[in-house]
């Protein structure tokens, strides 16, 4: 029986068999005999999550634009499927051709989230690929990229290459180099040494890590003679208008998280929110022109049949000609019944005009992220919005016919007190009052306010990389405090989670190579899909750290002195450590830093010659 038939035999016995089916419209099929490089792209989570991810779509289309390579998709099989695959000896396979992953030349893996790291070990194991780079004599080279690649150290022994920054060009370079390496018939290690010279490529095995007596890092240095750079600078695509972007998107059969056209209107963010890793590592800001966006949208609407275009970016309200873009989009696509939506709406942008435009086609939910409950704490995190901004935005929205507002906050931000947390309830109360301030005949019925409070995770390459995470008991105390305070505000739905998952996330976000052992141990005990609260096993994680003799508090809860060497200091994310430190110090004085479009804040991006900052 063929592998394909054996896979299909399992599909009647698992949840959501479309996850493993492939054959979607616009999926790329090629003749394996006619390509030189077979590239498997693994999104280490379920199909529904991975298929909603823009970066994967971009790289899939970029690689498949080459005649000499074929990129196929791989997703983490859900636990039911993984169990059956192990039972029947079915290896991890690609969706397009159902080829075992171990027969590919390259395996690209995107690191979107620390809590998907164990899924990578699970995937390698299901694929029959040795977990450790040092043990691999054949099979695909393993390349990781994405936001978590800026601290890949906990994964260091398992991966071959780490791609920092924008993937469009560096991915092509790793493929070009693979062809050269293969044609030359060189040993496996030689590919890694050669790849270390590609801009943005970091090869962990070529670096030596030494530690101080207190367990902190003394130095990370290239191995003598390896030719690897002391500092690896991220790859940068300067001009997004000339960068590759998909003209076709795969249209899934089942429902996925974001089932729509994703149009990236710009990359990077100039706001400088101090908790936000994306706001740092994706600098500088690079916009696509309206003409280019209209053309991309035209192509994508006709090639997919989707009825919604989401204007994506870290802060879409900041697009320099947003009203014009929204207007043109609505005008072009209203007749085709295509809705235009704006995610991650900031509360301080001038909403009204844009909202009116999008509303013509369909109302989308209003989601606002004040992040903190008091002005003092919003200043600490440099979320440059005021209560007056929020009040104006929600009042506008209620007057335009919105009736549902989602408010996102974080608990455990640096310098937070009980008073800041109670400020969240106060804000919710004021939002409610805004709704009732709109005359009954002018507002939509059915007010719904959702308050979501996540637990703050300090991330590498942010001004808060020196900050301790708030300890478990205090987080729980503040959650309860807020829950009680919100119970007195009518019509508010409060969402929060146990802090244990965020704690493990904090450990890995700022972890070092020693954590690899604990990660492997936790995975062997059964940890995978850790980001799914129904799968997450806090007990096993704590056991794994203990057995490995590692103290997770050392990574998550320890205040870090400003002169400490970090495990990721040799990886240059664009902004400098000096800038991050200045921001950390200003945070403690609750001092704001303005949006750098209003004046250069000296983050370090000018070193890349790519920033138009004045």
């Amino acid at each position: 029986m063929s592998l394909s038939e054996r896979i299909e035999n399992l599909m009647m016995s698992v949840q959501k068999p479309v996850r493993y089916m492939g054959g979607e419209f616009n999926a790329v099929m090629k003749d394996p005999e006619r390509v030189d490089v077979r590239y498997a792209f693994l999104f280490p989570d379920t199909y529904e999550v991975g298929m909603s991810h823009l970066g994967m779509k971009i790289l899939y289309s970029a690689i498949n634009a080459r005649e000499d390579a074929w990129c196929e998709r791989v997703f983490s099989p859900w636990v039911d499927m993984a169990e059956l695959m192990r039972r029947d000896g079915i290896p991890l396979f690609s969706l397009e051709s159902r080829t075992p992953v171990k027969y590919f030349d390259m395996l690209g893996i995107t690191l979107q989230y620390e809590m998907s790291f164990t899924n990578i070990l699970e995937a390698l194991d299901l694929a029959g690929i040795p977990l450790r780079s040092a043990d691999r004599r054949e099979g695909p080279f393993i390349i990781v990229g994405g936001p978590c690649a800026f601290n890949p150290e906990p994964l260091a022994p398992f991966v071959d290459l780490v791609a920092l920054g924008d993937g469009e060009e560096e991915t092509q370079q790793t493929i070009d180099l693979y062809r050269q390496w293969k044609a030359a018939g060189l040993p496996r290690e030689e590919y890694l040494r050669m790849a270390a010279r590609i801009p943005g490529i970091y090869v962990p095995s070529l670096y030596e890590v030494s530690y101080n007596d207190d367990g902190t890092i003394r130095a990370v240095t290239p191995r003598p003679g390896s030719g690897a750079p002391e500092i690896v600078k991220k790859a940068l695509v300067n001009d997004l208008d000339s960068a590759t972007y998909p003209e076709k998107l795969i249209v899934p059969y089942g429902e996925i998280i974001h089932n729509r056209i994703m149009l990236e209107i710009f990359r990077g963010c100039t706001r400088g929110c101090r908790f936000c890793q994306a706001g740092m590592i994706y600098r500088p800001i690079r916009e696509r022109s309206i003409e280019h966006l209209m053309q991309l949208a035209d192509n994508l609407v006709s090639s997919t049949g989707y009825d919604e275009i989401s204007l994506m970016s870290l802060s879409s309200g900041d697009y320099s000609c947003l009203p014009e873009l929204a207007h043109q989009m609505v005008e072009r696509f209203a007749a085709k019944r295509v809705r235009i939506s704006l995610p991650s709406q900031r509360i301080d942008t001038v909403l009204t005009d844009t909202l009116k435009e999008t509303q013509k086609v369909k109302k989308t939910a209003l989601t606002l992220a004040p992040e903190a409950g008091t002005q003092r704490l919003r200043d600490v995190i440099n979320k440059g919005v005021t209560e007056a901004d929020l009040i104006r935005s929600v009042t506008d929205a209620f007057e335009q016919g919105w009736s549902a507002v989602k408010l996102y906050f974080m608990l455990g931000l640096p310098t937070e007190t009980d008073e800041d947390v109670l400020g969240i309830a106060d804000l919710a109360q004021k939002v409610r009052a805004c709704y009732f301030s709109v005359p009954k005949e002018r507002r939509a019925p059915g007010l719904r306010i959702t308050v979501s409070a996540s637990v703050f995770v300090p991330k590498n390459d942010t001004p808060f990389q020196w900050a301790p995470q708030l300890d478990y008991d205090t987080v729980v105390h503040r959650q309860q405090l807020l829950r009680q305070a919100l119970s007195r505000v009518k019509g508010v739905d409060f969402k929060y989670h146990a802090p244990d998952l965020s704690y493990i996330e904090a450990v890995f976000a700022r972890g070092d190579r020693r954590l690899a052992e604990a990660m492997e141990r936790a995975w062997r005990m059964g940890c995978r899909f850790d980001g799914w609260s129904d799968q997450f096993r806090y007990d096993l994680w704590l056991k794994a750290f203990e057995e490995e003799g590692l103290d997770p508090d050392f990574y998550a809860l320890r205040p870090r002195p400003t002169d400490e060497m970090f495990p990721w200091d040799h990886l240059d994310c664009g902004v400098t450590k000096a800038y991050l430190l200045r921001e950390w110090e200003k945070a403690q004085r609750a001092e704001c830093t303005p949006d750098c479009r209003k004046g250069c804040t000296g983050c370090g991006m000018k070193r890349y010659g790519a920033c138009q900052g004045r």
Partner: protein, 223 residues
């Protein structure tokens, strides 16, 4: 004007549920570039309907979708546009243009032809029961419905049935709202008669049929 489109569902895509296929076609019709008619009302959608739902896991060469157009279109152009909007595993097999008064295919379906393949060792024992099944007048069967279990007589729901090889048979089964039987249930009954365990089956739909003016079974697309 409406387009009746017969298409197939190849083995690879047999795990798409009917609901997912409906959603898929909402986007597929947008890709055709054809003048699609949209419903009125609060939540407008393309006006289309299916001949009959296909169960998860089945393949088919006779799925029918009925798409309403807002302007007249030629048959060939419609066929080309629809073909370009579907993946190769949903091949377009036949297109017929009808006017708006044509009865919806869904309302015309009376029966369906299937080929059923039996996997495993028990195939010949099961196929051996076909003659006695067809000679019996009452074959009680427990049918599971949303409201619970109900005992029915399966025999009149089977219009014809004959082996086609060492592990497969063809059957023409009733398919109306009140009278229908799935091939899997039929295999369960045959297996019960043979005293063997029901094997895994692969079901393929060969045709949907209605009745012509004389009451003769007729392929749906020809009605």
């Amino acid at each position: 004007m409406r387009a009746l489109i017969r298409f197939g569902k190849q083995p690879r895509l047999r795990f798409i549920s009917h609901l997912d296929l409906q959603r898929f076609f909402q986007r597929a019709v947008n890709r055709t570039g054809l003048p699609i008619a949209w419903s009125q009302g609060f939540n407008p959608h393309p006006v289309m309907s299916f001949g009959s739902a296909l169960a998860l896991g089945w393949t088919s060469e006779y799925e029918v979708i009925d798409i309403k157009l807002s302007a007249p279109m030629g048959r060939k152009r419609t066929e080309d546009a629809v073909r370009a909007a579907l993946p190769e595993d949903l091949p377009v097999l036949e297109v017929r243009m009808v006017d708006d008064r044509h009865t919806a295919p869904m309302a015309l379906v009376r029966m369906s032809d299937y080929t059923v393949r039996l996997e495993g060792e028990s195939a010949s024992a099961i196929l051996g029961q076909i003659p006695s099944f067809m000679e019996t007048e009452v074959v009680p069967a427990v049918k599971k419905t949303k409201s619970g279990e109900r005992t029915i007589n399966a025999r009149p729901l089977v219009l014809s049935m004959e082996p086609t090889g060492p592990d497969s048979f063809n059957a023409r089964l009733m398919l109306t709202e009140s009278q229908s039987i799935k091939p899997e249930l039929l295999v369960d009954l045959l297996a019960g008669m043979a005293g063997v365990e029901a094997p895994r089956v692969r079901v393929h739909r060969r045709m949907l049929l209605g009745l012509d003016a004389q009451g003769n079974p007729t392929p749906l697309m020809a009605l």
